[in-house]
Symmetry: C2
Subunit: 351 residues, 2 copies
DNA sequence: CACCGTACTTCCAACGATGTAGTAGTCGAT
DNA sequence: ATCGACTACTACATCGTTGGAAGTACGGTG
């Protein structure tokens, strides 16, 4: 300890200390901890020594030796977006069931941070990465040189360059829009387009939206397709303000996520529109907020637990077998019709 | 590589490989990476070799040698509680600024998982822990044997056994309640009591609530103090249902957090109460949801960024100087008055 | 009684990085 | 030419753990 002592402060007990106290070799301690064959008496002595010293294995050393860390990274734009918060919760829980710990990386949806993620995040910390991209597209992913197992979330890129979990965004958006058309709405707006992103989720939802309008025999009016830079309440509120100022405002709005919808509804309310009477609103994600809002929000409900489970399964499989071909998992979704598009208000809430 | 090869699949480049390619010693590579003095020519050759091989340092090895991991743990009850989601976001960002990565541990507020957290989470993974306790009290913390630096969040325990960041919950609750009394409300209820927890945040808010009633010369009616097991919208909705069924329902409700308030407002709305006309509502936390809700929610707004920054500072200080006495940081808060307790509805939202 | 297998246990090397000490080589002053 | 002081680099030990091989003791077997 004299010449090279990297530790600062009290050094905590190592296997060597445990071994000394129990009067056995270091390897025997290791065997006890890893459940290998050890005599009953020895095992007990070792366990007592472990307890006495408050010994805990040094993860860094173990990982160094084993070549894996037991850590998975979850890279999302923002943790305080309710959708990602709910998803993160499920993924953390699912990872824990498999003995993995989750580290969080927030990209903010920016190019630089997202590139950093697909390049392996600077150091070999995680055994695998679950990544919800915003700025990176299929090409960026395909170009990647880092070999850390990677699972992509939330953007449907068929036959993509990596494992992928998503719902069928086009179909979901079509169903949502068709629902509005089915209510007899004729001027249906969309909030959340992102013209900059050629491949993102927003593009798929827009595609579904347009398809549904055509199927319903409605004209696609470009002025009713409103972009949103971020997907926060504020952006929804601003987009709705724009819509109400149109010469001929819409009688329905399909928002590409729930927070946009909640923000939009706030503005619509402030400007005297009754929901759903004057304007029906549908969102996307089925976050908890929408269920209790007044009016409660009709929304596309993806199977978030299914997404979490599938992402983890794909990732763990790939950690095992790094060279298998990429897989696509499509998780189910359903439309949850609530007050904002039909059920009358002033009725006890249920589900 | 023949006898003991823990790695599976392609082994990625190590310093040794870089050193061989650049024709220098391993230590020189290390020096280049860590910015020590290295000749210009050598440095360039090494950097080219690093780029060619796609070398990234092995964190486990570095951590083993350095005695620290660069990882901090954040232990919260549930990541999808908006308050914790917003806090997690800020803490992850703050940690990143200091070069640390955050791992997430979800305790669910349960004894077992929380005990696990204060016992060091099974292995020395994190250099420090930021912990928002629900079940553990001061005694549990004081009994702790693990030496990992620990910062507690959210519960004001003066002269506690560990570093601590909180707002003045008693004062905040008193202000909120006094605000309702100041509006002329006379039957003020509270939602969110947790009689089981002798020391939690809920107890402090209840204390402030009672104090404010007394100061306002109002009787403390026990039937108007409603417990909530969890702090979800659902619990708020149920508590409000109970209140409306009282013989003499309240004309104001102070909810111990915003999600309780949002759930309660939903029920109140369903049962025909006008907010704030019939019942004024105040929440706690100032989550984004409350700002856009109809009606927008009056709430106690803690300085969350301040909490994140302070927690990180305390933790990093303690990692440096493990034996200094515990410190208490009290972060500022303010009451944000919005529609649910006064501002008229039907007015453009602002702030 | 020598021999063998079984059941534990010990010894040694290795994972990849970094701290310390030591070795060349360079330069300026003497 | 000699020395000292410096710079640039190398060699080696070490962090705590685990894999593999070698060692030991014991009971049974021929």
């Amino acid at each position: 300890m004299t010449s090279t002592s990297p530790q600062r402060g009290r050094r905590s007990a190592s296997m060597k200390d445990v071994a000394a106290r129990a009067g056995v070799s270091v390897k025997t301690v290791s065997n006890v901890i890893n459940g290998a064959a050890v005599g009953a008496g020895t095992r007990e002595r070792v366990q007592r020594a472990i307890a006495d010293l408050g010994y805990r294995p040094n993860i860094s050393a173990r990982n160094l030796r084993r070549g894996r860390t037991g850590i998975l990274a979850l890279a999302v734009p923002e943790l305080d977006q309710p959708y990602f918060a709910e998803l993160a919760r499920l993924i953390v829980d699912a990872a824990e069931e498999h003995g993995y710990t989750i580290i969080i990386d927030q990209t903010g949806g920016g190019d630089r941070r997202e590139q950093y993620v697909i390049d392996g995040m600077g150091a070999k910390l995680a055994d695998g990465v679950i990544f919800s991209p915003v700025a990176m597209d299929r090409l960026d992913i395909a170009r990647r040189v880092d070999t850390t197992p990677l699972v992509l979330l939330g953007e449907r890129v068929s036959a993509g360059p990596a494992d992928h979990v998503a719902i069928d965004n086009v179909a979901a958006a079509r169903t949502a829009t068709a629902h509005l058309a089915g209510l007899g709405r004729r001027r249906i707006a969309a909030i959340g387009a992102q013209p900059d992103h050629a491949q993102g989720t927003s593009r798929l939802r827009e595609t579904g939206f347009r398809a549904a309008l055509e199927e319903a025999g409605l004209p696609v009016e470009e002025s009713l397709i409103v972009p949103a830079r971020d997907y926060h309440r504020r952006d929804g509120a601003e987009a709705a303000a724009y819509l109400t100022e149109l010469e001929d405002p819409p009688d329905a709005v399909f928002c590409f996520n729930d927070t946009l919808a909640l923000g939009a509804m706030r503005t619509l309310h402030d400007r005297g529109y009754r929901i759903p009477h004057d304007v029906a609103v549908v969102g996307f994600d089925d976050i908890d907020d929408g269920r209790y809002n007044v009016p409660s929000l009709t929304t596309v409900s993806p199977d978030k637990a299914g997404i979490a489970r599938s992402a983890l399964r794909l990732l763990l499989d790939r950690i095992e077998a790094i060279d298998s071909p990429p897989r696509e998992v499509t998780v189910r979704h359903e439309l949850r019709v609530r007050e904002s598009s039909g059920m009358t208000t002033r009725r006890p809430y249920s589900g």
